[in-house]
Each structure stands twice: as structure tokens, then as C-alpha cells.
């Protein structure tokens, strides 16, 4: 693939997925993995999980992983193309959902008693729930290659749910455990 072809496929892929990022962003991880690793082979499984870890550890909105995936896709054409592809990928994933959000925000209160709005509010939650669990399984399998890594993930999950300790603490501890060579 030439640099321009790669760019085109990246933009198209994320434009197509944008409107399906229901429930706040993470729901698309499995689809990203499918497109970026399995369909196009822009990244290896290992690189995908590395970039996911990087994006989650960095401050800022959750969709920034898409930029990193675009960066990875463009990397083989040099750093300049990588950056162009990265910014384009982020714009592609945000643009359609932003337009829909603008329209919805303008009309939401006018639809107060519409059955469409009520059904939409109630019905979408359970679908999101199913997607989130499916995404979690995919992420666990992609990120973890050893029993210790799985144990670490489950411990983080448990402590995030049961305590009020900041997630940053767990990111720090796991990062340290990683550097010291415990994770793999």
C-alpha cells in the first residue's frame, strides 16, 4: 500500500465506525482490533496492546487511541506520514459523532415526550452493557500473555470497583511491576 492508500483506508475505517461508539468510547476497541490487526495488518497484536496501554495511561479523552492506531498505520511511510495519518484518524472518528451530537443537543428538549426518545434512552443501555463485556474479554486476551498479567488485571478491576483509590495509582503500580519484569 502507498502512503496515500493507507491514509485513505485509515480515514474510511474510522469514519465508518464513528457512529457506533455508543456508551462513551471504549465500545469500539474490539472493532479497532479487528480492522487494524486482523483486516489490514497495520499493527501486530503486541503493538496494539502496547498502544492501548499507552493511551489509557495518558491523560485526556478516551478516543485518543485512534490517533495512535493511525500513527502506527502510517509509520512505515515515515514519521511525517505517520503524524498526518494520526491526526486524520482522530478527526475521522470524531467528526460524524460530533455532527450527530450537535443535532441531538439542539432538539433533545423538544423530544421530551416522544416515545422514540424514551425507548432510545432505555434500550441502548443494555446493548452497551453487552458490548462492554465483550470488549473487556478481547482486551484481556490482547493485553495479557501470562497468568500474572491476568491476575494483575483482575486485581485492578476489583480494587477500582471496591475502593476509592485513584486509578492512576494502579497504573503506576502495574507500570512498575512491568518494568521490573513481573508481567511477562
Amino acid at each position: 500500500m502507498t502512503a496515500l492508500q493507507t491514509w485513505w483506508h485509515v480515514v474510511l475505517t474510522f469514519l465508518k465506525l464513528s457512529l457506533f461508539s455508543i456508551g462513551g468510547g471504549n465500545t469500539l476497541l474490539q472493532a479497532y482490533h479487528h480492522e487494524v490487526v486482523e483486516t489490514f495488518g497495520w499493527l501486530t497484536n503486541r503493538q496494539f496492546s502496547d498502544l492501548y496501554g499507552l493511551a489509557e495511561a495518558a491523560p485526556g479523552p478516551s478516543s485518543m487511541l485512534v490517533g495512535l492506531l493511525g500513527l502506527g498505520a502510517g509509520w512505515k511511510h515515515g514519521p511525517v506520514w505517520a503524524l498526518i495519518t494520526a491526526y486524520s484518524a482522530e478527526i475521522a472518528i470524531l467528526l460524524p459523532s460530533t455532527v450527530v451530537m450537535l443535532i441531538a443537543a439542539a432538539y433533545w428538549n423538544r423530544w421530551r415526550d416522544s416515545p422514540w426518545r424514551i425507548a432510545f434512552e432505555r434500550g441502548l443501555g443494555p446493548v452497551t452493557l453487552g458490548i462492554l463485556f465483550s470488549v473487556s474479554v478481547t482486551v484481556l486476551k490482547t493485553a495479557n500473555h501470562s497468568l500474572i498479567a491476568y491476575a494483575l488485571s483482575f486485581m485492578v478491576c476489583f480494587f477500582v470497583l471496591k475502593t476509592k483509590i485513584s486509578p492512576l495509582v494502579f497504573i503506576g503500580i502495574c507500570g512498575l511491576a512491568g518494568v521490573l519484569g513481573f508481567v511477562r
Binding site: S21, G23, G24, G25, T27, L28, L29, S49, D50, L54, A55, E56, G60, P61, M64, G67, L71, W75, A82, L83, A86, E90, L94, T98, V100, M101, L102, A105, W108, P115, W116, A119, E121, G123, G125, P126, V127, L129, G130, I131, L132, F133, S134, S136, L140, A143, A149, Y150, L152, S153, F154, C157, L161, P167, F170, I171, C174, G175, G178, V179
Partner: protein, 156 residues
């Protein structure tokens, strides 16, 4: 995050009423797109329409995004270094745990709603066991779930 922005936007700056802020939060959560981005789109649009939205999104994302892309470039340049790989393996394990906790948090809400749990299980099995793609699953499950939750009766 939303508590903090409420304090600044509604209480201190008085840019909008608390009610329209809550409307924004609801729409931002329900509609596709990251919640924080959608919320900035909404707040920006209240002021200046489209240009306001674009400015708000740029404001919230441009700096962290550029920083992250520089980190990404470093990653692709230096990922052969063992320590970098080991650090990222640790970070990924933590992130996977947090992704899992999101599901459990939402599960709390639907603990006694068996219809919701059934829909969630069917969606999960289609994606994870049958390995259907997300787009067709959402296109089928979304309308089905909406019709199952369609308000009925005079009381609603």
C-alpha cells in the same frame, strides 16, 4: 470530571443553567462519541454554534493529543528497548482491568432488570462467541432493544 466542569461552567462562570448542563450530559452519554468530547461540543454550541463547538473540542483535545502522538512516535522508534516493552505490558494489564470494571459498574444498574440482562448476554455472545462484527450487531440489537423498551400504556 463532570462534577468539576459543572462547578466551573454553571456555578462560577454561569455560562448556562444547571438544567441545560444536565441535558447536555444526558445527550453526551447517550449519543455516539466520547462523553467528554460530546460535552464540549454541546457547551461550545450553546455559545457560538458550530465554531464554538470546534473551538471547545480543539481546546480539550489538541494539547493532550499532540503530546500522546509524540509519545507514540517515540514508541515506534524505540520499541525494541526491553524496558519500554515491559513498562507497556504492565500498563496494558492495568488498562484491561479498568476496562473490565466499566462493565461491572454498569451491570449494577441492571441487576434486577432481566430483560436488560438478556439483551446484554445476547449481544455479548454474538460478538464474542459467534464473532459477528460490531456494526451489524448494533444495527440489529439497537432497534430490537428499542422496541422492547417502547413505552406502553397511559402511565408510561
Amino acid at each position: 470530571m463532570s462534577l468539576w466542569s459543572h462547578r466551573i461552567i454553571v456555578e462560577r462562570r454561569q455560562w448556562m443553567t444547571s438544567e441545560s448542563f444536565v441535558t447536555g450530559l444526558t445527550v453526551a452519554r447517550l449519543f455516539p462519541g466520547p462523553n467528554q468530547i460530546n460535552m464540549s461540543v454541546y457547551i461550545g454550541s450553546i455559545f457560538q454554534g458550530l465554531p464554538g463547538s470546534l473551538a471547545a473540542v480543539a481546546g480539550i483535545i489538541l494539547f493532550p493529543f499532540t503530546l500522546l502522538m509524540l509519545l507514540g512516535l517515540l514508541y515506534f522508534q524505540f520499541s525494541a528497548i526491553a524496558e519500554v516493552n515491559r513498562l507497556l505490558a504492565g500498563l496494558a494489564a492495568a488498562a484491561a482491568g479498568m476496562a473490565l470494571s466499566m462493565g461491572f459498574k454498569i451491570l449494577e444498574v441492571y441487576k434486577t432488570d432481566y430483560l436488560a440482562l438478556a439483551i446484554a448476554v445476547i449481544v455479548f455472545v454474538s460478538l464474542q462467541v459467534f464473532r459477528f462484527h460490531l456494526i451489524p450487531v448494533v444495527l440489529v440489537a439497537g432497534p430490537v432493544a428499542m422496541s422492547l423498551y417502547w413505552p406502553r400504556g397511559p402511565g408510561r
